[in-house]
Amino acid sequence: MAETIMVVEDDRQMARELVRLLENYGYRALQVEDFSRAVEEILEAAPHLVLLDINLPVQDGYTVCRQLRQHSQVPIIIVTSRDTEMDELMGMNLGADDFVAKPYNPQLLQAHIARVLARSYQSGESRVARFGRVELELSRSEAICGERRVELTKNERQILWVLMRARGEIVSRDALINELWQSDEFVDDNTLTVNINRLRGKLAEIGVEGYLLTRRGQGYQLCE
């Protein structure tokens, strides 16, 4: 079951993008509609995690954070453009679990969300991504096709996951490299090629061929 994330962000455009992004990452995302009832709405929705902006109409995020803490232990990540030490300290003192400065890059936000969720729920169930014939078990870093499974390295898992999220669209080499950089693997062009070839090899081991395609000059894509 997908975790529910409540987005508390007053900029409509921003909130919409955020919801889409979170859904793309496999979460269920909701947003606060009426900011005078922000706390009630959050409590009613009982999400697994709250993404909280600080500059809000009616009452600021710190107030929401404090009130929320009086009723609930739901993990809170403060997402804000006010990023001074003071803001961070204040958020943490009011019981927030994490702090991400705007503008953030999506992978970074996703990493923070995953970390906070893992810390708060220590879920036994592992998250699974799927596209076409192949399943990817994220926490165990295994690719599965039918009964056969193969263990992937961190880079290979990351590459496969990005391509799966693209759902058959082409992903450029730069975007893939960027994704790996965001998980602290500062690879270059050649390393990416090597990783892709290894991944193809491992997929072949479990009987998957013609799944990861090269689009010369454009990037890579998965084929169902």
Binding site: D174, N178, W181, F186
Partner: protein, 342 residues
Amino acid sequence: MRDLLAQRLPLLLASAGGCALSALLLHLLGVGGAPTAFICLVLFVPVAVCCGVEAYTRSRYYRHLARVLGELDRKSLLPQLMEEPPFAEGRFWKEVLAACGKSMNDQIDRRAVEAREYQEYIETWVHEVKTPIASLLLSVEGGRQPDPAAVRREAERIDGYVEQALYYTRSGAPEKDYAIRPVSLRQLTADALKKNATLLIESRARVRSEGLDRTVYTDAKWVAFILGQLFQNAAKYRGEEPLSLSLRGEAGAEGVSLSVCDRGVGIPPRDQGRVFEKGFTGENGRAFARSTGMGLYLCATLCKKLGMGIRLESRVGEGTCVTLTFPKGSYHLAGGEAGETR
């Protein structure tokens, strides 16, 4: 005038009292009325005349001064315009006034220079930030679907400029926002690499690192910004080649140092001494365009505030190395020695 005379009243009274006492003494000694009156007059009149003359000159001087002050638009110019006072105390006060005024003017001058520099920076900045905005607008012209990578690149460029402006403001009063904590060089460089990923990857970056498992005591956010400026420079001045970036941590006598080296175009020797100056663009800045001359200046300013050293070495055609030196931990945290491990 009246006030000035009133001030002299005790003296006049004392003098009159002295006269009366002398008169009494002379009377007891059997001196006649006329000589007594004469002696009293001789004693009292000069004192009274002196007091009167003094009060008059001062009052005339002060009245003149008040008039000059009243007519002045910029009152702080008074010390330059007032006449030399005809009495010693006045000359002392004139010097005091002049000293106060000069100190005030110096301060105002400094502020004026700062304000002008700030304004100049904002103007250049606005000019620069408009380029990515224009390019973003252009990319959606006529309902065209923009290339996501291009949108990201331009948005990150805007973000970079905004960030620089923020740190420029903060460099004036950094006490407000910094927190010294132990952090590993690996963490510091990773943060900065991630933040500048799009630009660096587009520059076909190859990153090599060595000796980064060292802990330093510093503000991670500030250092990530400084490293970001260095990375951006390396990308900007890489020439035609893919960007080669090497990050090296070392422990030395003055603390831990972190070098960021590229194999870019390098900086001519005559420019090297000035790269940390505000607004200095040099030959490369002109040749490669898009240089505000603020990046390295900000790095140097922030380093100074954090108690860090910054040093640049470069050879034309071979590359540039910028080395940051982190002071030993004990400077910032009592009893904390900069360790060799994470």
